[in-house]
Symmetry: D3
Subunit: 249 residues, 6 copies
């Protein structure tokens, strides 16, 4: 079997992380992973949800959306349907959880960081690319707070990235594009840190099943993929990336 775009089974698509893509949000990134393109922004708001009021603790929440023109068949807006799809909600919850894992919310104080991932063009892997891109936007936003001396240091304990893996015709492959995703028997999204720890693992047989051996192959592919994505994040962030994982001023 050859992959649609000639990639090797364990090869990522081209990654491009463009920082400061928009002028208003504190952090904004155009995340490109092959043909998948997502605007990821991080905006700081000086208040927290009700359940955190008075706790001196911050919050990170994520919203995800696909532009109508991002998909092959025009995507109907959630606002037109009057409700947010189950899939959208699942992804939003995943992005928020993943980013909160590496942030010390106590240090942020009573602020909410809004993460917005708006898919401009979809070609598979939008939820994982959202996490990888949003991480960079989040670093930029927290760095701005740090520069303005609103927080004593950037309270991020490590890099976080995410990648999809899957099994197509019994072969485990890394970073599925839409056409691969569509026919994959098993589909898995793995969120990891730069210390090779799992943040989240979500695997589904897509109405089929998979064995323990297949699980292992997929996890190894994901490890390799995340390693390379984190390298790209580090490149993009340059000096600022070096402040991550450091709690001393």
């Amino acid at each position: 079997m050859e992959r649609i775009d000639k990639r090797k089974y364990d090869e990522l698509r081209n990654i491009k992380i463009s920082r400061n893509y928009l002028k208003h949000p504190q952090g904004s990134v155009l995340m490109e992973m092959g043909e998948t393109k997502i605007i990821c922004t991080a905006t700081v708001e000086d208040k927290v949800p009700p359940f955190l009021k008075g706790t001196d603790t911050g919050w990170i929440t994520a919203e995800y959306s696909m532009l109508p023109g991002s998909t092959i068949k025009r995507k109907i807006r959630d606002s037109s349907k009057g409700r947010i799809e189950g899939r959208t909600q699942e992804i939003q919850r995943l992005i928020g959880r993943a980013l909160r894992t590496v942030v010390d919310l106590k240090v942020i104080g009573e602020r909410t960081i809004w993460i917005d991932c708006d898919v401009i063009q979809a070609d598979g892997g939008t939820r994982t690319a959202s996490i990888s891109g949003a991480f960079v936007a989040l670093v930029d936003a927290l760095n701005k707070l740090y520069i303005e001396e609103e927080i004593p240091y950037i309270p991020i304990s490590g890099f976080v990235s995410a990648v999809s893996v899957g099994i197509i015709k019994d072969i485990p492959v890394l970073d599925l594009c839409y056409q691969e995703d569509y026919k994959a028997e098993v589909d898995m999204n793995i969120v990891m840190t730069d210390k090779y720890e799992f943040v989240e693992i979500q695997g589904t047989g897509e109405e089929s099943t998979f064995s323990i051996d297949e699980l292992h192959s997929l996890i190894n592919l994901a490890k390799k993929g995340n390693e390379e994505i984190i390298l790209k994040q580090k490149e993009a962030l340059g000096k600022i990336g070096e402040l991550i994982g450091k709690t001393e001023k």
Copy 2:
């Protein structure tokens, strides 16, 4: 460390599966897993969603809800809030996907099986208990179609059950109750078949992380747990359970 209810780390709570709990639905089960109690029903409707019209293929869809009195703090109804929570949607999608994995929807024909899981009392593990109980209700509903000669055999390829595992104070434990779930560092739901295949694996560090070794321990616990739950499902179904996995009349 001792567990709240004195169980061993790899011990399930008491399981009770009461079939034919309600008189109207084709399949209905009261699923009890310790203090967690869920009414799982399966209802057959003679039509399919628009995307399946004219395909001769059936569908299984699930809805999940918690009664206001099921939780410690009264749960506000989705209908009062005017929207379905993200968590609810995630669970509904999981239940539907899990059950569809083992059913040959072609054999069902243009019918929808509605799975309803209504939590009467919640004490952790409601989504996994929903899957395990709904499976039994589904078998009953399909058996009724089979008896009425609407379908040539029960088109279920194997048993499906689900269980939660987690890490509490660095110790992997099986089948978390609410108080354990609340303080778990890692939380994982694993759906399996009676052939030890994975249907779904969802693990989250709950805003923390976990290592590959911890992943292995959790998977082993889940394997043991699901094995025991499937035994209970078999007991509950008796003779009907023997028709599962048989495609010949």
Copy 3:
């Protein structure tokens, strides 16, 4: 004419009132009236709706719902439809009004008692059974406040129950089951106290009409029925029931 279930015209179905049905709510009852089964809970919340803030007065509000599997044809959830049906709202308002009639809300202080009536299985008379069952749950919840010395006494002036009556083929009958209700020419719900006073009377010709004499026959049947239901409530409550109508400690 013989009744479907062989009952005499003035005979109630079997009543079973199971207290402490759930572990979380302050009061919880499984109310069974023949095949009609309803979980009635009473939960205390330490705040009141905006219109009562600062008035030192409490509130009782009711919500009513039918599980999807409770009816012959699967009932679509209000949350899926995105709105609460007119019928549901009418019933909720009735239950709340009926219970507030016998409670001195001043004594409760700024608390809301949430009454939830969730129909597990419907076979006619769900709104009246909800009132009769919710009353018992309410007593339990207020008794808990009394025991915890949050209120000086149980501020309930008397027992409240409700029953349906109707005219079928010109014959007045007591406590209609679904099949009777369906073909009744006149349908009436009567809420009464143990002092034979009316709390509410709602009679409709169901798109037909009825005479003054028929009205009298129905009222007499309802009186007999409510008398018997209140006896069952007293049995269920035992000693606690004796505290009702007593305002001295």
Copy 4:
């Protein structure tokens, strides 16, 4: 006790029924009952709700609304709140049921008669005045169908009107205005035909109770009131009113 507006206890307010109030709907009435003013319209639509398709039977459905300027405190629109209030739904259902009682829907064929009752000015008794006014608009709409030879006769078996009665300071009174309604201990709405038959009776102790004797007094008052309202309806309809209750051409 003297009534606010000097009326005798058994005296109605001034009634004015202005037909053909608007030019577009088939039937339209300005119903005035003292200071209460309601525009009641009846519009014919050539289709029926899904549950009646193919049955050759018509339907009558009602909508009720209060203009923002109709009440003492500005009434927030249902459309701004995004949902229809429970009270509104209850009234809508009542109006529809009351009118359907006297109409042979088979004769109407597959048409829906939309009844709209829009309260321009509210001073108590809006739901009963809506019924009394809507009846006249309905007659006009059906008469138009009859004149156009769409239906063989006006399929209305009798007049329907409604009135409110109540107990204020232990005295039963007829046709309560807002200030009376506000302080009434018992509030009852009674819908009747010109043959003194009940269509609907809805009485509530408004969180208090009432005896059987009080019930009788109220029913007698309502009988007298409805008799007088029907006289006014007959006056307003003139010749057309004589066609009611006649099934021969």
Copy 5:
């Protein structure tokens, strides 16, 4: 070409402005412009929207609605559709903006004036007639505040009225009725003050185009029309109208 109702091209329909049409709101007007009839009310509320809290400034906001019976084909209520139409929102925004132009909101203090325009009968020009009628209701409401010495003077700098103009078969015409509006190639609404200043100009080719010369003709017609409407407003307001534009007590 002759106009449907024989009017000259530059002739308004009959205008009737009935003040104090309802008893509850501070200002209420029945605005009639030919067959178009609108109830316009102005209600004072002692609070402002969040963005004005603490600014000592008032607000004027408008809501617009058409009764179901106001149009040829029954108009479905916004509340039934669960959302407010784009057209409705556009009109509401226009009315609010137009009235705010001539009011010194600082003088009103932290109050909101709610303008409600409910179309009872529609025959074209409802948005412009709403503005012209609402202006009078607004004057009455502010006059009431002035009389009660809540504000030092009526803070209205001038009269505001609105009229529609259009091009039908290449001829510019004033004040289009529904049938004219329907076939107009160009449709323009012009809001003006009594000093011949524009408040708002909205012209659309209705999916066609128009030249600069046509624009001039339309503006001249609108000028003439508004002049006459303001005369009617002055007649209706009598002495109170003389207080407008005067800032001294």
Copy 6:
């Protein structure tokens, strides 16, 4: 007075029109007008809204949205609010109307062209830039239908563009950026064709007023601005632009 960005009063911002910005929609443009950036797409759907079924006529409908990160203060999504803002609806209706003006919908046949304008970065003039950009995307989409021989020619009668003008400190200026728009006394949006005809003119005194002379100055500025924008559209479209206004193959 000097303009914030040093432009002359009658000078447009830099315009950049990037065609084929996305790979899925038939037409897609990144429209940049200074710092304002909008993704405009045109998608063809092979069905029409109900009111056009069976008429052999097509439709063009527009949706407009701002990304959360596009504005200075994070913009809350319509889908989170559960409703579409009045301003959004007004803009959507304007875009649709403007484009339909120059298209012969009969030639398109029973197809809907969906126009989506998603603002990535907002700096004033988003509604006019949406129209100018969407026009180009529309041409591309119709050209694709023409190339595929689905339609006999590109049924567009002329170029359409839009620009904002306004009065700031009594000076008429062209193409306002956000900071100018914010303080403008008069704000006008003018949509024109390449034949100097008006498609739409919307001018508001923004709660102030303007004279006839000011109106003339603004119109002249808009004429100049639209002329230049259309030149840019022509440049961007190249050869395809020459097919516009030609009805012969």
